[in-house]
Symmetry: C2
């Protein structure tokens, strides 16, 4: 396959050059989005929206260009190496999904979202589901059409799920979520009955935002965030974004809740570390891009839950914490308890703990499947939502604002996104268990603030592969088993049985 400089580039090389341009346009869009959320003055929105639309239209045009399809076919026929075959599998998937959906429908979905988002905001503010209902109806209808264009012979929800989770069978995801639901419903009911009182007031007080910023900067440095390839800023909804050369994190500060910014920062650190571990030399190609949302979330949750909420982390980090906030007078055990309390009466997903979180997700997953299949009518969503909260969590929302209107995702027309949050958490338990097996004295290392071995294990087993392996393949290479709920269930059972004396 070697070629001299006078020969024409192979179909594969030409294809990759074309793909790099697409990826660079998308990464440019990522910078514009970061800027909009972190730096842009408010009045900049009209221009920014047009700039972002121009970039997405261009990247779509480049991907659906006939020549891209022809080069893809030629490269597939040209006896690809294993690595090339992995790249071509990813490009083929991207291409097929883009090319099957008419531009007109893409624009309709985007226009529907532009109208649905302000309607959702209004509906949530006024606790008035009726305002949002026709927009949700419209999205359901358009997304069914969308799925049908991609594959008329399959369950449309399955097709939509693949927008976020392209290579994990929906059936497997469903089994995992069902199993988790079954265990957690019972466990949370038991916790509700438990007499144990955790040290939930260990971090009560006032925590000025600038001192919190110093604290989370220390946390990032401790965990090994490479500042020369990133930065920390404030954003209303924390996120991370970027490339292996420049992966930035954001957080926000609530002056009565220092654990909020700390865990949110550690979460975003996990995302950024994944991005930074993608190979430099494969920048802007599938081998230098993240696998998908659930794998990304497995990285953020691993650092947030398995590291940040662990006893060992607090053994190391509590002195740093009290350097910044000397009024806090908690023991390691108290800090650990406060960091792991279960909010069994909380109705809001984004304020949930490590356990109840997954029931919030399972409810959305079950409802959106039923919406797309037609088993649930839009008008019946509020009651179905409330019934499920009562059934799974033992609590019933009194308003739709704190019920089915709480999240923005459906206003964007995103169906199939929610489950990736839970799948990522569940995957993080499997990966962490494997890391514990592979790394000698991992617990001791973490309690000494030595995070390098864990970072390196993740880089080697997850990050460096980019999109080379599909999800199960990646997980199996890293852990020796297909992706499943077992390690997660072991983890929560052992942790919460001890905490709540179940």
């Amino acid at each position: 396959m070697a070629q001299s400089s006078t020969e024409e580039a192979s179909a594969y090389d030409q294809l990759l050059t074309k793909y790099k341009r697409i990826a660079n346009v998308e990464n440019a869009g990522g910078i514009l989005s970061w800027d909009q959320q972190v730096m842009m003055p408010d009045a900049g929105t009209p221009a920014r929206s047009q700039q972002m639309s121009a970039l997405s239209a261009l990247s779509h045009d480049l991907l659906t260009d006939d020549e891209f399809g022809e080069l893809l076919e030629a490269a597939e026929a040209d006896d690809p190496t294993d690595e090339q075959a992995d790249v071509l599998r990813e490009l083929r998937r991207d291409y097929e999904r883009a090319v099957r959906v008419p531009n007109d429908l893409v624009e309709q979905i985007s226009a529907a979202a532009s109208e649905a988002i302000p309607a959702w905001k209004e509906a949530k503010a006024n606790d008035d589901f009726e305002t949002f209902a026709p927009h949700l109806e419209k999205h359901v209808e358009l997304k069914r059409q969308y799925a049908e264009h991609i594959d008329p012979d399959r369950d449309p929800y399955e097709v939509l799920f693949e927008d976020y989770e392209p290579c994990l069978p929906l059936e497997q995801a469903e089994e995992i979520l069902d199993e988790v639901r079954e265990v957690l419903v019972e466990m949370i009911a038991d916790i509700r009955e438990s007499d144990v009182e955790l040290a939930v007031d260990a971090f009560d007080g006032e925590f000025p935002a600038d001192e919190q910023e110093e604290l989370v900067r220390d946390a990032l440095s401790t965990l090994g965030y490479p500042w020369e390839r990133g930065r920390l800023d404030t954003a209303p909804h924390p996120f991370s974004s970027g490339t292996q050369f420049d992966a930035r994190v954001t957080t926000r500060y609530d002056e009565s809740d220092p654990l909020g910014s700390l865990f949110s920062t550690i979460h975003e650190f996990g995302h950024a570390l994944y991005t930074l571990g993608l190979p430099d030399e494969h920048y802007a190609t599938p081998l230098g891009e993240d696998r998908n949302l659930s794998v990304h979330e497995s990285q953020s949750r691993l650092w947030e839950n398995h590291v940040g909420r662990s006893r060992t982390f607090w053994q190391h980090f509590l002195p740093t914490f009290t350097e910044h906030f000397s009024d806090v007078d908690a023991t390691v055990e108290e800090a650990y308890e406060a960091a792991n309390q279960v909010y069994e009466d909380n109705l809001i997903r984004v304020e949930a703990d490590e356990l109840t979180y997954h029931l919030h997700i399972v409810i959305r997953f079950e409802l959106e499947r039923a919406l797309i299949s037609g088993d649930l009518a839009v008008e019946d969503v509020p009651e179905a939502w409330n019934d499920k909260y009562e059934e799974y969590l033992g609590i019933r929302p009194e308003t739709d604002s704190e019920g089915c209107l709480q999240d923005i995702h459906w206003a964007y027309g995103n169906f199939g996104y929610f489950p990736t949050y839970s799948l990522g958490s569940i995957m993080s338990a499997q990966l962490f268990a494997a890391a514990e097996d592979d790394i000698e004295n991992l617990d001791e290392k973490l309690s000494n603030g030595e995070f390098a071995d864990l970072r390196e294990w993740l880089r080697e087993n997850v990050h460096q592969h980019g999109r080379r392996y599909e999800t199960n393949d990646l997980v199996k290479r890293a852990t020796g088993a297909d992706f499943a709920a077992d390690d997660f269930l072991d983890y929560v059972e052992s942790k919460y049985t001890a905490l709540y004396d179940l």
Copy 2:
């Protein structure tokens, strides 16, 4: 020309839609560039370079697309309105310049710059012109080819000048610069002989950077910078960038020179105010874009020199200054003198005052013209440079680092850019004189810190027109006369005769 929604859009409307996409891609590139200079961590360069290249290649592809040319021709033939004809004139010029230059040559020039910039840095650091000479030679050769593709029948320098100054005849620019040179050479020689000692130490001392930042924020607010459409940050080389919805300024702080950051900020304010005065409704079309570099510079220099360095400004602003820096004990007259001292022994353009600045520019202008025409060989640049400094400014550089290697522009292959700096300053005098005629008691207003009338005059006479009028037309509509040096020469003669008792 009205059209119903069922009719196909007119050629003009289709063309404008295409142009908007190009403009949005370029504006996205502007955000990436701002981010790179202000926010990006160092290690981000490799990815950022690829993102920027992808965007410029795309915008070039979109502009040189056959369909763009066809729509342009159809729109021109379709009985355009006056406004449409103005837009089409601008699009035709952009299109012709882009389409005549082969992609291959564009890439060669870009590659030559990538090699020349580090070579220039090395040459400047080591005072070694030989290191840079072959790169300069290469740029001269490529830029001659570039000009020949655009128009083989004209002076290639004239063609290159039009990259920065598309609609001001070079002959007129040359006359203006010649006239200015003649007067200034003599005036600076007289100042050198003058016995007057200005209050040059009025702002001696230590001025902490954070307090300087507070000061320049106050200055921006005083002048009327709309913070909801912009922001202030620090950058190694101050600049401003953005759109009418979001025009940002940057500055830098030298703790021994508070006037440096102040005037640099006021300068960038002038640029930003121009951008902000472009009409919102014409965003991403020629009527919503700046005329060109010299008009842009006329706006920055007007605020920097005619406002910021005026007695009236200091009457208003000195109390604010001393609120921030109470050690400064200068009178308004002393502040005015310190802000207007002539550095007759300074060799460095970017450190020059309002008078000597133009001789620095004229020297570069004369040399680059001779380089492109072939009258000056690259190897003879250092001596020619030093001779001209001696002739015009009465000083001779001892090294090439502080001589012909001081500026980066030629390393980028930019020939024809330098004169726009002086042309803008000279234009600012003509505009300010017209504003003084039109606005009742302007001086009194400025001394009271009332800047609204001046801002409004500029918006109405310059900013709101975008690229609708060509340069002379714009200046004539604003001032009643073609662009000329008269007002500038009146201004400097009256100001500096008084200051130095000439």
